[in-house]
Each structure stands twice: as structure tokens, then as C-alpha cells.
Symmetry: C2
Subunit: 331 residues, 2 copies
């Protein structure tokens, strides 16, 4: 049999198990020109929450009663395409199914001997590329500048912090548990870290952690944490608007202090982006990230959940910050 | 005698006459290496409101009981500097005084035969340069794109709209009276204009005036007007954060819908700036603006108030939108 996870309801607020539906079908058989893929690792990402809303965006919304999908590493278990052999591993946007067929389009072969398979969803995949292009192309950190990262212990944040260190910056991370705070300092080399859950005056805490002010803010969370960082932004600061997980489950339009005056008075740039904007440069980005990994300048952590049935729970846990680094489900 | 206008109180909310104090002193005498300047035209600008707050910014705040200052065109009435002669006209940041001495530093000679003197404060001065650099360097309008301008009938807005037309864009202006709406369409060539004071659903009105969405938003006002434009922003849109006059008199931090998600989903850039960022390119900018004026592609309007004593009132009137184009006081 072959399990599939469908979107059963569009979540109201935080996603719950009742928004997902498991169905079972026969395992499909590949026709000529198709491969049969077995799902190995499934990426769960905050941005998927946005696709659950029925609203035009940079990517089509998920349809009700249709399979959800995300970045997946799969094994070719049967091939009727010349370019693929049984035993190959591929990375692609695929459905949340145990088995599925593919015409081979958009499948990217990955090498399990080069790096652990799950890293092709994380540090060597969309996550790493998001950190790399957002920070270098928008944030443009210069040696000696201060870079602040929110969601610092997450999949993107841990990579951003390390790249900022490679660029010679002072790096301040914001995260929500003492374990995460310890981890980003000891394992990922952040200079300072602020636990937003135990800090009452975030504006002051950022000012203390970034005594020369904030030159680059890589924002994964939005909301009041962002307000506190923006209160410390320097003249000609750059804000990389990558994610806003604090607002993804909002049921009403989130409000906050208006930013216009800060942007004007300090000549600040804010730029939103999605990694797809850089599709033409993915190869260059992966090469750079892999090279930093080989030199030991870039490392990673991941939160690995086991079992296809646990995909919804792993996704829900993102919104409680239960992951350190990349959240991956091993099927 | 020689009148000077001092900042008597830091305004709470909208500025009022009691925030200003007139004092009289003797007319000063220039020493060797100085010129005596007679004020001819005084620029009043919304950004001066920001300088009245005791708060660090890109420019020093005004001090209490000290003269206010702004862009001024003055006549040299006595010169003890070789480079300046009696009868020369100069443009500079000068005090709100009828007469003052200067060591000649930062005085820029202007030619009354080339263009009316007041235009060196407006379309050929900081105002025109603000429009030019903000639109071309940040907004980067491309032929066929839609540019929306708020504060469209103001000093900066009228120039922005015309440059956007020169660049081959569809131009939509937002202003607050029917006279202004008529003016920007008939005199300045805007394709569409929306009166925000008589329009109940601004989001819908912008959508109708910009049926292909908004590629570039040149923002002079901030606040709810900006929210309505942002609801119509296109993917890869650029927001030029130039002014936020709707919030300058706020006594509490203005709040509004958070922008992060829009910025991210649509890969939108927002960039604040002040014209001083482009100081090295002022000459190039003035040449371009003057050339467009000569070719007839760029025209201007101004609201001319007479009398030194009316400088505070002219400034206050900015916040009621009483000006069309540049607000200048002729002394």
C-alpha cells in the first residue's frame, strides 16, 4: 500500500492534525519514460503554511483534498528512463506520498557519498541557498559589521550566522530556548545570543548585544522581535525579509509600529525574497556552501523525526520552535 | 533691524505659532572673509518637522531658542570674499533670518537668468533632486510599468510623476483635493489620480487606477494611503520611502499592518533615503532636470507665500496640504 497526505482543511491559526488527511492507494507502476520513487526524507518548512491559504502568491496555494508537497529526497526503485537507474537518489519538490511516479523532469540527482542525504534538503539545499543568497545578495555584510539573525537556531538562521562569521562580522542570534542559545554560540560561533522568551526588554537586549548597532538584520520571524531589532538598526542598514513565522498563523492582519520613518531617517533597505529568485545561480550557491563545509567553516544541525505518519506533527512543531536547525522527516 | 525665527517649543502634534519665536537684532556686519546675505526665498519642507524633535537622526535636531534653518536663496548685499560680489545670488542651508553673514562655505551661486530664483529651492534644488534620485536610483521604473505617487501634487510628487512619464510609465497620483487631482492630470500628465479624501475604499481605487498592479510606489505620505497601495504592489515591486508626512505630527508611535509577509511573498524592495545620500551626483542630477525643463518635458508649480513673518504659517500649512507643488516664502 501507499500512503498519501492530503490537505483536508485550510488551517485557522496554528495548523492541527485535523487539517491533514491520510489516504491509502495502491503503489503506482511506472510507465515508459517514468521512474518509481520511494520517499526517503521529507522537508517540513514554515513557508508551507502560506501555501495552505487560498491566496495568490509567488507559488500556487495547495488545493483541498490534494496531496501536500515539499522538498523530498527519494530513491529510484524502478526506472523506465535512461537517465535514471535503480538505486539513484534524487531531490525534488514531490508529493507527501510514500511512493510516486515521475517523468524525471525537475529531478536533481544527489550523491549520498558526498554528504548525508538529508543535507540536500538543508544546508546544501533550499535552506542553505536561502541563507546564502539572502545574506550575500541583499544583506551584503561587510567585515566588521554587526549582523543580527532572528530564528537563529533554525535551518536558515544557523547557516546565515556562519556565513556572516565567514564574512568577518559580529553575529548576534535571537532564539527561544536556552539550549538553542547555547548551541548557536558553542556550535555555530555566534558572538552573542538573546533568548526572546526570557528577555523582557528586547530593544535593550539587542542594543547590548550589538553595541555598534545593527548593520544587517536577517529576519526569519517578523513581529515584535523585528520591532526590537529595527529600533537598533544603523544608518544604511539592510533588512533581509526572509520569513515571518511569528505571523504565519495569525487569523487577523498583524499590526505593529510603522517602519516608514525609520527607513527614511536611516536610509534603510528592506528587501523580501524567495530563494526561487536565484534559480539561475543555485549551482554556484551549492558549490560555495559545499566548499565551506569541506573547509570546516560551515556545519549544520538537524532535527530528525522518524516515520511518514509523523510529517504533520513535525510541521506543526515548527511553530512551537521545537526544531534545532533543519526539521526533516525520515520515512 | 533684523528678524530671526527661533524654535521656542518642540511641537506636540501639529506645529503651531506658539512653537516659534520672533526676535529682532541689529543687522550684522561682515568681517574680512565674510559676506552679508539678504534672504530672498525660504523653503519650508515637511522634513523640518523631524528636526524639531530632540532625537538623533541623519541631521542634527534643531536646538531650542536657536534659529531654525532650511534651504534659502539669498542675495549678497556686501562682500568681503573675493569669490562673491554684491548682487550675486546664492543657495544654501541658512538660518531663518532676514540678514546673516556667511564665510562663503557651502554657498552655491545660482543664476537668476537661467531659471526663476525660487526654482533653485524646488525643481532644480533639493526637491527636484529628491524626486530624481529616489525614482531613478531606487524605483528604477521601466517602460510600461505602473508608478504610483502619494503626495502627488506636492513639491516632490509633481516631479516624480513627470519623470515617470518621461520613462514611459503609467503614472497614478494620490492627492487630497479635486483641484490637485485636476492639476496633476492636466498640467503634469498623470494618467490617473485618486482623491484620498473623497474615496472610501482606497485599496479598490488604486486597483482600478492601476489595473496591472503597482510596480513602483514613490511614497511621500506613509500611513493608511501606503497600506492601500501596498495591497496592490506587484511581484518585484519597489517602494521608494521618501516621506511620511501623515505620521510626522503623531504623538504616539503610529501602527499599521505589518509588511513582512507582503515583502517576502512578492519579493518587494523598500528603501528609505534622504537626498544627501546622493551629494556626489547633485551636479549630474541638476543638469538632467534642467535639460528636461528646457525640452519642456518637466514643468513645475509652486505655492508662493509673501513675507518673512509668514514662514511659520507656510510651514504649518504643509500639514494641511495647502500647497500645490513647492511651498516657498518670498521675503
Amino acid at each position: 500500500m501507499n500512503k498519501t497526505i492530503l490537505l483536508d482543511n485550510r488551517p485557522q491559526g496554528k495548523p492541527s492534525h485535523s487539517d491533514f488527511k491520510f489516504v491509502e492507494n495502491d503503489k503506482p507502476s511506472p510507465k515508459d519514460g517514468e521512474v518509481l520513487l520511494k520517499t526517503c526524507y521529507v522537508s517540513v518548512d514554515p513557508y508551507l503554511r502560506g501555501r495552505m491559504i487560498d491566496q495568490k502568491s509567488y507559488i500556487e496555494p495547495f488545493e483541498l483534498n490534494k496531496p501536500l508537497s515539499s522538498g523530498i529526497i527519494a530513491e529510484v526503485v524502478e526506472s523506465k528512463i535512461d537517465d535514471f537507474s535503480k538505486g539513484d537518489y534524487v531531490s525534488a519538490m514531490l508529493d507527501w506520498k510514500e511512493y510516486q511516479v515521475s517523468d524525471g523532469q525537475n529531478l536533481q540527482k544527489v550523491d549520498p557519498d558526498q554528504a548525508p542525504l538529508s543535507t540536500y534538503l538543508g544546508v546544501l539545499g533550499m535552506t542553505g541557498l536561502t541563507a546564502y543568497f539572502g545574506l550575500t545578495d541583499i544583506g551584503k555584510p561587510k567585515e566588521g559589521e554587526t549582523v543580527v539573525v532572528s530564528g537563529a537556531a533554525g535551518a536558515v538562521g544557523t547557516v546565515v550566522g556562519q556565513i556572516a562569521k565567514i564574512k568577518g562580522c559580529r553575529v548576534v542570534g535571537i532564539a527561544g530556548t536556552d539550549e538553542k542559545i547555547d548551541m548557536i554560540k558553542s556550535k555555530f560561533g555566534f558572538d552573542e545570543a538573546v533568548n526572546y522568551k526570557t528577555t523582557s526588554d528586547m530593544k535593550k537586549a539587542i542594543a547590548e548585544a550589538a553595541p555598534d548597532g545593527v548593520d544587517v538584520y536577517f529576519d526569519n520571524v517578523g513581529g515584535p522581535i523585528t520591532d526590537a531589532v529595527m529600533a537598533n538598526i544603523n544608518r544604511h542598514g539592510r533588512v533581509v525579509a526572509c520569513g515571518a513565522i511569528s505571523t504565519y498563523n495569525a487569523t487577523e492582519t498583524p499590526t505593529g509600529p510603522r517602519l516608514e520613518t525609520t527607513l527614511i531617517k536611516k536610509s534603510v533597505l528592506m528587501q523580501g525574497f524567495t530563494v526561487g529568485n536565484y534559480a539561475e545561480k543555485f549551482k554556484e550557491g551549492v558549490q560555495q556552501l559545499a566548499s565551506w563545509m569541506q573547509s570546516g567553516d560551515l556545519t549544520y544541525t538537524e532535527t530528525m523525526v522518524e516515520g511518514f505518519d509523523n510529517i504533520p506533527q513535525a510541521f506543526i512543531d515548527l511553530f512551537d520552535g521545537k526544531n534545532e536547525g533543519k526539521m526533516v522527516v525520515k520515512v
